[in-house]
Symmetry: D2
Subunit: 462 residues, 4 copies
């Protein structure tokens, strides 16, 4: 890397792209970006053009000479890239609607990352990621890949362990949100506290220390059920039981509510579905509004409304990570990277989400040490579930897919769970080439979704 940098963003038509631009703009002096390529597919052409035009206007409003390209030709974009970011969603929000509706219609959790829908999202994403890595090996073999496509941990594990691309870092905004929100709760500044995270993506715990080395974890536990306690806004704030957390002496992440208060979270999710439909359907409306705003030619900055979309800090974390690599910053960030011993109860080459030093070498975990028995058991079954999911996604083996569903703690096993899997496979047929044979069999057995919304999405080729 010399002094001007080429960034390629796959899924560039995302509504998050303005935040990414803002992140690069405010870091320009340390991170002299030269060109930014926003790549999308035919179905995203309109969006990428709108957001690309806004992005260029944002740069043009600065003193910096940066060119934003929009393209549907991924290979053209990747040539000699320095950093590639991935933020695409295979099948767009319509696919998420299916991921959420189908389980919910069967009384199961409609959670789009670790739940049933998340597994299908992995099944859809992994074949596309395989092609991207294949292109990168040819066109930009020295590039860093910064992934924030969900399920981020599973995707990062596949890229590093199975596709052999070591220069990959997975990002998520959940740790950032906690580190931004918590200090205020105990009347501290963000920089004052020393954070250590360990676990898996959407399934990690953390500890907090002050500048004298004193642990503040239990103090923060006392505030965890308050508003603004560090849980992302999109997660229902069922109350954590204090006795459990005090015994653990660890701060769980927001997604642990699904595991520690399973019944409440399921009930809330079914209730919300009844009243407001799926989150994906809500997001689709938000997104449509956003793109109307993005079209306005006088708009030259990230609009305030974007923050409603959720996912705040994701793009900023990506910019910070890129800058830390470029500038050999040797700073603390929480990322998905190879374990290498940081969490001794998981394999050395598993991907974990963990406090790491980010430098020109990439991410190096800081050791966490032995987990308590409960967290150890949780992590190990979640990693097993991730491994089953990846094996299923790579092979198209139906038995492995069913195994991932069976072992997933957020899915109640049995014939109804199998039915949900079957309907999801059929509903996403278009994006699951590896499961073709299994899906044919299901269709012969007459598996289909009885939901008119899902049926109509399927009919129109989504």
């Amino acid at each position: 890397m010399e002094h001007s940098i080429k960034i390629v963003t796959i899924g560039g038509g995302s509504s998050y792209t303005p935040e990414l631009m803002e992140g690069f703009i405010k870091r320009y002096k340390e991170l002299p970006v030269r060109e930014i390529w926003l790549v999308d597919i035919e179905d995203g052409r309109e969006k990428v053009e709108i957001v690309g035009a806004l992005a260029q206007r944002m740069w043009d409003a600065t003193p910096y000479q940066v060119k934003v390209y929009t393209t549907l030709d991924r290979r053209a974009a990747l040539v000699n890239a320095d950093f590639v970011t991935t933020q695409f969603r295979v099948g767009l929000l319509d696919a998420r609607i299916k991921d959420e509706r189908i389980p919910l219609l069967h009384g199961m959790l409609g959670q789009e990352t670790n739940g049933a829908g998340g597994l299908l999202k992995a099944f859809r994403t992994i074949p596309v990621m395989k092609e991207i890595i294949s292109d990168m090996k040819e066109l930009c073999p020295e590039a860093w890949l910064i992934n924030f496509t969900n399920p981020s941990g599973i995707i990062t594990e596949t890229v590093i362990r199975h596709f052999g691309w070591k220069k990959c870092i997975g990002l998520c905004n959940v740790p950032t949100i906690a580190m931004m929100a918590e200090p205020a709760v105990i009347h501290k500044e963000a920089g004052e506290l020393n954070y250590r995270f360990a676990g898996l993506n959407h399934f990690h715990w953390h500890k907090v220390f002050d500048k004298q080395g004193k642990e503040l974890t239990s103090q923060l536990i006392g505030h965890i059920n308050e508003r603004n306690g560090g849980t992302p806004a999109n997660i229902f704030q069922a109350e954590f039981p204090m006795e459990l957390l005090q015994t653990m002496n660890l701060l769980p992440c927001g997604y642990h509510r699904y595991y520690y208060m399973q019944k409440e979270m399921l009930e809330h999710s079914l209730e919300e579905f009844k009243n407001e439909g799926t989150r994906a359907e809500q997001m689709k409306r938000v997104e449509a509004d956003l793109f109307e705003i993005y079209k306005q030619p006088e708009l030259k900055t990230k609009p305030e409304q974007l923050s409603k979309r959720g996912g705040a800090y994701y793009s900023d974390a990506a910019c910070e990570c890129i800058s830390a690599i470029y500038n050999d910053k040797r700073i603390h960030m929480v990322v998905s990277t190879q374990n290498r011993g940081a969490i001794p109860c998981l394999d050395s080459d598993s991907i974990v989400e963990v406090s790491s030093l980010i430098s020109a070498k990439g991410a190096e975990p800081i050791v966490w040490g032995e987990m308590r028995p409960a967290e150890k058991g949780w992590l190990q079954i979640m990693k097993a579930m991730e491994e089953c999911t990846i094996s299923a996604a790579l092979t198209g083996d139906y038995g492995l897919a069913l195994e991932a569903f069976t072992i997933n703690p957020l899915i109640q096993s049995g014939s109804e769970a199998k039915r949900v899997l079957d309907e999801l496979l059929v509903a996403h047929e278009k994006y699951l080439p590896q499961f073709r044979e299994a899906i044919e069999l299901l269709k012969e057995k007459g598996i289909e979704s009885l939901d008119p919304v899902v049926s109509s999405l399927m009919k129109y080729g989504h």
Copy 2:
């Protein structure tokens, strides 16, 4: 050990004792028992006297001079014992009624080993086992302890790892039932097949080979949903999904139905409760009938009716294990013993249920080797759950008890699960000295069971 043997059976008043006698009688030539002590507590005085008299009549009908003692004085019985077997139930069947009713009333599984009730059973049993081991250290420091008090794996782990009594072997009839039933399904003799089991108590898998070394596992999987396929009769035979088992290429144990078909098993359990009450209540009636039969002075053999009680082969397995130790038989049995590497994904000093050689040295596992990711994850979370349960039982820490409930895959976490824990603790107060402080707090908060059956059992001091 010289040529005459002293056996002590704690919980001697159990209705299973006649099977144990039968097992010793038929092995007398290889296992020259001299005296058998049936130990019980005041609440079991009548039962132990009835069963003790029957036991003596059984021996007197043989050519062998064996004396059966019944006593409430455990310490007197233990002096110079060669083998101690434990088959007691703290709180008798009334406690099991509470273990089953309270979860079922809240819509949760009423399963007495791995479920909510099983955890409470561990909480009640561990303090008593601690006293027994303390007595044994003093009175019969060379004795072998053969445990079949449930949850057998958890109790064996506590005895070996926490109380430091290495000469302990845990037994269960589930593997025996499979090894007795399966060969017939594929038209083989029992002795022809070579079995390998590995996992935890009530949570193991097995593989089967013929005398030419050919694996028959997948063939047996094809028959697993048939009647008499090897699942204990007390477990509802929900259908295993074939695709899952074929992908695993392992034969699950009967208890895996609770994990692989969670919804069906829960629904059946609630239905059965509505129609027939708890299994414990049914057992109580069966047991009352049995003791009427046991009283008949002309009865001198194990009555047929005992087989209805369930638990067949348990006592016979105990006799076989004792004989294998005494005679240095070096034979294959499936027992709970220290892992020592047999299942590499679990700690070396964890207790596992595994194919072992039984000799004068005790049990030595035959290696199983690496588990597939899914079974590895399952085992690790189940072991974590066991460890939390033991820690809670040893310390009386409420947070740990809640953690065991939260991590248990058969309990849906949340405030209802917490309520079940709370009611169970209060209901079993008498047998939970270590939780006194936590229970006081719960009672101050007004926790009690609203079920008239449970309330009445509590009122009468059980």
Copy 3:
């Protein structure tokens, strides 16, 4: 396998073959051999013909109709083999002379298995073994391979882990010798004692128990320095220090003398070399005499003189192992097989030499459990040395070969050790195709052995 068996012995011209025949003859009723193929190479043509004729005479003197074939065509022999045994020595005893003389001339140990010579033996054997396995995959894919070519552990590890042939068992006579000799020392019968071995080939320890489960290890330690204490006759009997063994409470194998009494063993080895030449040279004379005897047409049994050759019990162990597989015997033998957790401080897929059950399934280790720190450290460095040796043998990487020499505890590192490696590589050039490039470089630098014996062996193409 049906009822008649085809055996193929690679290195069939070995002087040990008559013991192998004797082993099959005495087991004929349980192991109905049909034909035995003795395979050798051109250089061994005369020997294989002599020994083949004797073998046929041995069978003809029995009531059994067994045909012995001798051939130089390995592929013809392997077709549909049931069991293949490997007992060949690449380069014959002349190669062993070099393996021993070159280190000894530089004042280093001339030990043909774990020492410098052993590493070269591995380098020569592995390329040949690769070809054998490649033939077997094609010609007899269901056959069992029973290896006793040294270094037996290293060769077995290469076959199983690197060439992927799982149906391979490594054998050695060292455990057998101990189990045969020790009981007499304490006035017991062989069958009475229960043995447990664990470690690596030529680097294992054992424990002994009586039929009451009482450990006799420390009692046997008290006799270890006596004649006939269980150490193979070819190893100098330097005295083990009692304090060390008592602290360990383990019986070391004979080869541990090289590690625990390094100075005495080296001095004795140099002294013996001065007085009697290398062991290989002595063996060459013994072997010449043996073949003279084998030629006698009236000889129809294994001659007594074979026992002088050393290596007793090797062949018998092979026959026993084959019979245990064929008859699904499920008996205890000590073999080299995959660890699978038996010794938890080594990788699951490492090859270890360990007490195992032998059945139709092959070898299954019985767990040993955690090692003490010292034995753990020893095993781990020895396994590392084995892994470096195998990597060097597979790749021809000179740095890896030097690393194996540097880490080997029987080789004092430094420039003299490097010189020994260099001379050995040049001396064995003919059998080291994988090191061609490295050897060319060494020859350009003028590396050669200054020993007239070695030089003359090299000149005549050996």
Copy 4:
């Protein structure tokens, strides 16, 4: 810790103390030391008074009001200490003379850390360290212990794992020397390079990266045999073989010369002993000269001559470490601390020497990841040796001491090694209370050193 700091230095009479003072003086603004207590024993009274007076003069020449106390009363000094540094040598240099002379007289390496002498140094130090920790638990339970008494890794492991004092960090100057010297070799500035170290004290390897993330290790390997290549001056610079290092692609530490070029290092050590006596005797003369200089009342700074003593940077590293903790610096240092997974092939709670972040929380290792087989094997046997040494030191078990000698790769095992152990134990009798019984037995057998120097040191009570 508030704003003024109490430092206690045990072994305060060391000739290194002026460097320590200099380190504190130059950091005063960030590290406001209030008082410094130099503690020594009666035998060191004169030295501690001389060096204490110099230390006070050094502070008095600055604008800072810092009081230096000298005392023989360790308990008085420890009260409310913030940081305790340990740099004492039990038995002073006279003990080191014995550590070096006795092995050398028997033709063995006279190396005072990992060799025979180092093990005895551990045996002498551990009982004293036990008392210090016992005092600290009572008098300054919140203090940090910064240890640089050798063998530093072994002592740190004992303090943390066996005495349970978690707030302990072990320091050594070997990594610092490498990081100071190497950049110049390739024309770089120190701060430019990113270093990663892993291994054990005096037995670690490192890798180096530039600010673009490019690895420079192989480039530095090319310079390792040059003068000033990073090996401490007190180690003979035998040439590393390039082929070995290139295959490893790791930079070994200076002490690896003893392991990779064992013969050359031994020969040089014996030669040096013949010509110049032991290093300890040389040091004794250097030290005497130094104390003459320290006495000069006009001396108010660290004298130049101290650098001749060796051990440069040790004290400065200690000051830097203290400041990093006090100021929550979160910087990279190479220290001995608990592994916690950083080197996955060693136990999580083993002490390793590894690149760590130093903050108010103490030291947290950065993961290194899997080692290559050779380094893994080396580390594991060295750690086993350390564990044997510690067990022997804690228990006084002679067999364990002999085991540590037997497994130590720098000691050729056998009866001569045992003789060296025996003589060393007798020679150090005064400082080995735990071995009293074993030493009595040795004396009864007439074990004594035949060396007049050692005998005279023993006679005069040292």
